[in-house]
């Protein structure tokens, strides 16, 4: 790779700027809107004329009108997503390991079924699930959301992790076994440390899937017992019927974006590629 020519550099710069604007404009628009007064919402300017915390006060403040809607929803979202992610990560790690390493009948069937489940449109499952959940008492509970979230996160986790495990040289495990490890020790001491970056990445993807879900969230809940944030936003109302709740919704949207950004920044360091380098001749 030689030095890039000036024209090429300019070209890349332009493309980068276009992509950045395209990706970040909606976010910055919401951020700006969240600081606007309700009366300024239709002012037509991008930036608020008067910066204000009113909207945040409304959803988080002790006297906020939307507080009872938002705070429990935030708690539900965090709890449900984390539990679903943890379960998905553990199950997917074991399943993917089995698929990548062991030879057992029905291996292909499991993979195809997983793929089938993940491509099934959520909206077509949600109505029967709604009836079933009401009958067996899972409606409007955390578990009632965690289970469908697993059906979304597990297939993709298994597929990504299986691909990841296949890249880890099998000799490492065999070497561990010859060195005196049991199958489980070989897995835990030689494979898991190497698979950690892959598991982190997969867990992150699983978390986002659960965190961003709307259809299950709104259909399988009815109260703040289990309703997650994306669903709760739909129940926001303005201070009066003539006022749009846009400001409060924007503020809530900004708040739910923060954990995602933090997670990405945090795990970015964990997702180091090339950790397997040195295991085999490099």
């Amino acid at each position: 790779m030689g030095a890039m020519s000036t024209r090429l550099k300019i070209g890349w710069a332009v493309i980068t700027v276009v992509v950045l604007v395209y990706a970040l404009f909606p976010v910055s628009s919401i951020l700006a809107t969240s600081f606007k007064l309700p009366s300024e919402l239709n002012s037509g300017t991008f930036l608020p004329q008067h910066w204000t915390w009113t909207n945040y006060n409304q959803i988080l403040g002790p006297n906020g009108t939307a507080r009872d809607l938002f705070v429990p929803a935030l708690r539900n979202s965090i709890g449900i997503s984390l539990i679903a992610t943890a379960i998905a990560a553990v199950l997917a790690t074991l399943a993917a390991y089995a698929i990548a390493r062991l030879d057992f009948p029905g291996k292909r069937l499991i993979l195809t079924t997983a793929l089938g489940v993940s491509i099934f449109p959520v909206i077509s499952i949600v109505t029967p699930l709604f009836n079933l959940w009401r009958n067996i008492g899972l409606y409007d509970t955390w578990l009632g959301l965690i289970i469908p979230y697993l059906s979304l996160t597990l297939p993709i986790s298994i597929w990504t992790l299986a691909a990841f495990f296949r890249q880890i040289p099998w000799e490492l495990e065999q070497a561990a076994q010859v060195d005196g490890a049991t199958t489980w020790q070989a897995f835990r001491k030689a494979i898991v440390p190497l698979a950690a970056p892959g598991v982190f990445t997969t867990a992150l993807i699983a978390f986002f899937i659960a965190w961003n879900d709307f259809v299950y969230g709104i259909s399988l809940t009815s109260t703040s017992r289990a309703r997650p944030v994306p669903a709760a936003l739909a129940f926001f109302t303005g201070a009066s019927q003539f006022e749009e709740p846009t400001g409060a919704i924007s503020a809530a949207a900004v708040i739910v974006t923060i954990p995602v950004v933090i997670l990405v920044l945090l795990f970015q360091r964990q997702i180091v590629s090339g950790l397997t380098q040195g295991a085999v001749k490099g």
């Binding site: 490492l172 070497a175 010859v178 060195d179 490890a181 040195g278 295991a279 085999v280």
Partner: protein, 421 residues
């Protein structure tokens, strides 16, 4: 340290492929045995069956007198060095070497582990790299870490699976010597798999040559070289490889494409009623006729041949002499070439001449060879008709005596250095 015994060991893969067809091999305590053969001959499979990474379909494996067929790898107490080293990339060199010790759970204290690892690392000159990760090491260093992991615990035997094939030529030579030295000093039973016949010849007390899952011959390197049992072993052992030419039996001579060899009575007896045989001549049995005369070598067969290409190597001058083979033996020789992973480009004679020889490319040269040492093979079965079992056995016995003597010397030296320290 233990003897390893294989009895009619068979490996059949689930798809029906027979990788190892009834191999029986006794490896004595402290012996260095090489499994060698071209790719796909089943040598690695055999090694992996010994260590327990492959199931044994049929037959019996005993280590130190105990049947091991059903034992898990961890219960066989063997140490193995893998072709790609299989170091744990997330652990430092120290922890890589300490790994087998840590798995024993409480058998060693932290101080003992530290001491053992340090000793192993010092033996392999790794003491400066103990805190580094494998990714930051050179190929040779990684190789030594893998060996350190093997020697740190008192394994019953060492198993090597083509450990040097990922190193460059110079390093390979150094590590080869290092492995030989280490094995002599520790006196641990060692099984070493390689496809490289030089490694096999230089390292092994005994060499087992495999072809398509079948054991061809187990003997000392010298016995293999001088008394191969068949065409395959003869062609595999030696570099540059042995020349095979058709030989037509006439009333009083054996007619080769380039010369006639007078028939002795002993030779005639072995030939039986065969009209065509395959003759094997090692490149170094040839000489420039002028040089041979100067050295006073008499009694050989002089002949003229067109030397196509020459390669001057400093210690030798290799000459290539193309010749036309006979249709009766072409099939067999082509099959042999395929077995030996050859390309079957052309039939040519390789002659190793004295480096002072004046023979050059394209010369019509006067060459000479010693008919005493030629080997005669059956063109159908490939069997060595001139095989002398007594002589081969004698070489093997001599080799065994030498091995024991050198082992004893190594132990004495070790004892002395320990006493001094």
């Amino acid at each position: 340290m233990s003897a390893i015994e294989l009895k009619d060991v068979v490996k059949r893969y689930p798809d029906g492929f027979l990788a190892v067809r009834g191999v029986s091999l006794d490896i004595a305590d402290g012996e260095f045995v090489i499994l060698v053969g071209p790719s796909g001959c089943g040598k690695s499979t055999l090694l992996r069956m010994i260590v327990g990474l492959e199931d044994i379909t049929d037959g019996e494996l005993t280590i130190g007198g105990t049947r091991m067929n059903e034992r898990a790898p961890r219960d066989r107490h063997l140490a193995m060095v893998f072709q790609n080293y299989a170091l744990y990339p997330h652990l430092t060199v120290f922890e890589n070497i300490a790994f087998p010790l840590r798995l024993t759970k409480g058998q060693f204290t932290e101080a003992q582990i530290r001491e053992k690892v340090t000793t192993a690392a010092t033996t392999l000159e790794l003491q400066d790299h103990l805190e580094r990760k494998p990714a930051n090491l050179s190929g040779g260093q990684r190789q030594r870490v893998a060996m350190g992991r093997a020697i740190v615990r008192d394994a019953q035997a060492f198993l090597f699976d083509e450990p040097l094939s990922n190193l460059d030529a110079k390093l390979r030579g150094q590590m080869r010597t290092e492995i030989a030295r280490m094995q002599r000093r520790m006196g641990t039973t060692t099984v070493y798999v390689t496809h490289d016949q030089t490694e096999a010849m230089t390292l092994g007390d005994r060499v087992a040559v495999l072809r398509k899952g079948e054991l061809q011959q187990v003997a000392s390197p010298r016995a293999l070289y001088e008394h191969p049992v068949n065409l395959f072993v003869a062609g595999f052992i030696g570099s540059p490889p042995m020349n095979f030419v058709p030989g037509e039996v006439t009333a009083d001579a054996l007619r080769l494409p380039f010369a006639d060899v007078p028939l002795t009575d002993a030779l005639r007896q072995r030939l039986g009623s065969r009209q065509i045989v395959i003759i094997g001549i090692r490149p170094e049995q040839f000489e420039d006729h002028a040089v041979a005369q100067r050295h006073g070598q008499t009694g050989g067969v002089p002949f003229s041949a067109t030397v196509d290409v020459t390669e001057w190597l400093g210690s030798d001058l290799l000459g290539y002499v193309p010749f036309e083979t006979r249709p009766e033996v072409r099939g067999k020789l082509e099959e042999l070439d395929r077995d030996l992973d050859g390309e079957g480009v052309r039939t040519q004679l390789v002659v190793a001449l004295d480096p002072n020889s004046r023979v050059r490319d394209g010369d019509e040269a006067r060459l000479w060879f010693d008919p005493e040492k030629i080997l005669v093979f059956d063109p159908e079965s490939g069997e060595n008709l001139s095989y002398d079992e007594g002589a081969a056995q004698e070489i093997d016995e001599q080799n065994e005596r030498d091995r024991k003597a050198s082992l004893a010397r190594a132990h004495a030296r070790e004892a002395k250095s320990t006493a001094a320290a």
